[in-house]
């Protein structure tokens, strides 16, 4: 068990190193002349050379990568070229705001999608099942900004229930902030719903077909008891790990939602950085998304091992 977790941790670290190399390649190797990209075609060559020197991109690539990585380990994510401020001073507050939005989406989607998946499984092949599955599939496949636009048109412009922008005026109470965040959270809920519901449905179907459920039914237990005690307990195990890995996805979906709703989170920070060729900010933002994802999947894997006795014994063998 401990050995498995250690091995899993080592793999995650290795993946992280590879990820940092890929991000560095995209953000520091591909842009051959960041100074020119930032200043545009009409800037003097001198100014471009000076900016490149200031950014440190005229150093050998290995030096650049090494100083980037060691900087990160010391909590220094580099300097944002657009704001001339340390990246970390902008990144962490933005990440905090993003997590707030992601958490809200999560709190909404988890109970709804599990309920949907279990219901679909209990009514397998019938109208309830088919409508939940098709709705889930459709909602999952529509990009967040598309459903976001439809939601804005209906609920913010038509019915005027919610504001168009997600940024509350300063000094808004937490409950008031919630009012601003609900509409942006829903497109994220849509995309996740179909996926989690599908897993919950598959897990429940598997449990329903199992011998222990047949035994429980045959020995005369009431349907309610069978479902709560025997089916759900076993069917939700795979779903839990799927939910945990979705954390990483959520952070990615925020890029779109935050842009559409003008919300100052990590996603919008990345898009702004991209528009201004602020490569250090872009690299740091994407790396943070990757780290959140890797951490979430690591936790999911460990959770799965801890919760599932079968895997635990197999590992022990």
């Amino acid at each position: 068990m401990g050995q498995y977790i250690l091995k899993r941790l080592g793999l995650a670290l290795l993946t992280l190193v590879l990820l940092s190399l890929i991000i560095f390649f995209a953000g520091s190797v591909l842009p051959s002349n960041p100074g020119r990209l930032i200043l545009g075609p009409f800037a003097s060559q001198q100014a471009v050379v000076a900016l490149n020197h200031h950014l440190g991109v005229d150093r050998p690539l290995i030096t650049q990568y090494w100083s980037w990585v060691t900087g990160i380990l010391h909590g220094n994510l580099g300097t944002s070229s657009q704001y001339n401020l340390p990246v970390s001073s902008l990144l962490w507050p933005a990440l905090g705001r993003s997590l707030k939005l992601a958490l809200l989406a999560f709190v909404i989607v988890v109970p709804i999608s599990i309920l949907g998946g279990v219901l679909a499984a209990l009514y397998r092949g019938r109208f309830v099942d088919r409508s939940i599955s098709v709705t889930g599939l459709s909602l999952t496949s529509v990009p967040e900004f598309v459903s976001g636009v439809v939601l804005i048109v209906i609920f913010a412009i038509g019915l005027k229930w919610f504001p168009v922008s997600a940024t509350p005026p300063p000094g808004t109470s937490p409950l008031g902030q919630l009012h601003y965040l609900i509409l942006p959270a829903i497109p994220l809920v849509f995309v996740l719903f179909g996926y989690i519901a599908r897993m919950a449905r598959a897990g429940t179907l598997e449990a329903l077909d199992s011998d222990y459920v047949r035994t429980a039914v045959l020995k005369g237990l009431p349907r309610r008891v069978v479902i709560w005690r025997h089916v759900l307990r076993n069917s939700l195990l795979p779903t839990i790990t799927v939910i945990a890995t979705q954390c990483g996805y959520l952070i990615g979906g925020l890029v779109i939602v935050e842009t559409l709703f003008n919300y100052p989170g990590l996603g919008r920070l990345i898009v702004t950085a991209a528009n201004n060729k602020d490569f250090k900010m872009l690299e740091a933002g994407v790396l943070v998304i990757g780290i959140v994802y890797l951490a979430a999947t690591l936790i999911a894997d460990i959770l799965y091992t801890v919760l599932n006795p079968r895997i635990r014994y197999e590992q022990a063998e």
Partner: protein, 326 residues
Amino acid sequence: MSDEERGDAPIAPSATKDPPEDAPALHDPAALALLTATAGDATGTVDSSAGTIRRENLRLLLRSPAFLIGAAILLWWIVCALFGKAIAPYNPVTGSLTAFNEAPSGAHWFGTDSLGRDVLSRVIVGARDILIIAPLATLLGTALGTTIGLLQGYFRGRVDSFSGRIVDAVLALPIVIVAFLFVVPLGSSDTILIIIIGLVFGLLISRTVRTAVLQEQDLDYVAAARLRDESNAHIMFVEILPNVTGPILVEFTVRLGYAIFTIASLSFLGFGIQPPTPDWGADISNSYQYLAAGYWWETLFPALAIASLVVAINLIADSIEAVVIQ
């Protein structure tokens, strides 16, 4: 299992699930045919049995309402992509100089945008670029993913574990973010979009193909081919590949929906299809700031167009998946 299913969060075909290790070999009709046939006329037997299966699958598909609805919508957008300029009531690129931000009316069914361009015409012609880029990117990804997956599954060992790590690393990021990361320094053009999305999809698809190949590996027909002293390339592409086309087809259709999702999202962020080419995502990106002013039609209709296209492709993908798994 979770290892196989992460990567692209929203749509994960259940075909990517790890099948049980002890999947009975004889359930594969092609393998059965091969076993009963002599080595010489083996190929003929396989073809006829595969042909029957294909015809049966097609019949099942044509009876599925989800497939028919999806196919009808997709067909409509393909017609728009091919003949858009002829169908569109107005020129989609040059606007009227007098009609800005006009609400839907008899003259302009979907209204006009902030430059006085007819929204209906832009929606119709906007089908073209995305329906060229997305299938090409998906095709590239499928070809690449099939090759990588075959190599990984066939050679296993070091090749497999090293390339597996790289796949893991790339898949730690949502596809939109990976594409974004590379499009920003390289600049956006149709070719670059196709290559980047194709590369990322190649990695994703390689996982499914690898899993399928690993199962085929242990079947008798592979052992038979080895005994006949066939080359590795022959075994991979002539023997194994025809037996894993089912999962590959499912991957292709599912990824196609996802390619449209990704390209539309990139266009929305300003890094996909570039203006003034009519494109749904880019049009939304240009017009959503006017939503608060109440000009909802400029944004809503392109949004509905994207939604209908991705839903259609996912309905098709889901039906194909159901048939292939049966």
